[in-house]
Symmetry: C2
Subunit: 145 residues, 2 copies
């Protein structure tokens, strides 16, 4: 049985984050010691590692909640889990292409800068006037990493 600090150590998830996951129901309520401290077994450790890994891959907590509830039911077809992962992949791809466009625009902006005074700074000028832009970078998707 691990205390919350040890669990944090082995999973790489911080202590307050573990308590937060319990609070939002992503982890079941932990058993307690005589002195009211949380104690974790192997199952909890595996569940938390799963969550950690999925978070590292950018899955939102709600998606992780779905994945966990799917995996609790081994007989069901795996298509639903598949679909969640595919959604995540396409969100990642969308994010990359948007960021690539932003990077290009930022580079263009910086190349043009002649390092004089603010009065004729291209950075400020470009930001003030969208007509200078080569690409359309308006209204990107809001899906979070």
């Amino acid at each position: 049985m691990l205390t919350i600090g040890k669990l944090a150590g082995v999973t790489g998830v911080k202590v307050p984050t573990i308590r937060y996951y319990e609070q939002i129901g992503l982890l079941p309520e932990a058993g307690r010691s005589a002195g009211n401290q949380r104690l974790y077994g192997k199952a909890a450790q595996e569940r938390l590692s799963f969550i950690r890994h999925a978070r590292d891959l950018g899955f939102p907590l709600e998606a992780i909640r779905e994945l966990l509830s799917l995996s609790d039911d081994p007989a069901r077809p795996c298509a639903a889990a598949d679909e969640i992962a595919r959604r995540q992949l396409s969100a990642v791809k969308a994010r990359i292409s948007r960021l690539a466009a932003l990077g290009t625009e930022l580079e263009r902006m910086l190349e043009q800068c002649s390092h004089g005074t603010m009065a004729d700074c291209r950075v400020i000028e470009v930001l003030g006037n969208h007509d200078h832009c080569a690409q359309d970078h308006h209204g990107g998707t809001q899906d979070r990493l």
Copy 2:
């Protein structure tokens, strides 16, 4: 003179967002009509367009605040603005490379999926066990877009 709704229309910034920018001091307090409604002139419109464009390029509000205060002082050298933009560019690049790694891992995961039941779903299996991963995707930078 534009009402807040018209200003929202021409700049593409939503009405509550404009009020929010005023509240946090990114926009100066707007003048008011006889009936206490905000009225905006050309200067406010340009300032807001600047903010919008910088946000589209992913600059955090604090960076925008700096850029605005720099541009209010046309005699100063442009190096400071340059530096802010360079920081933003490197944040964008870091974000892209991290996302690319995540994308690769997600693709690998999905390729291996044999579309059976949850019991032997690779998606779940891979998420549960980091040893399956080709790459290191732990502890990415937290800088926001």
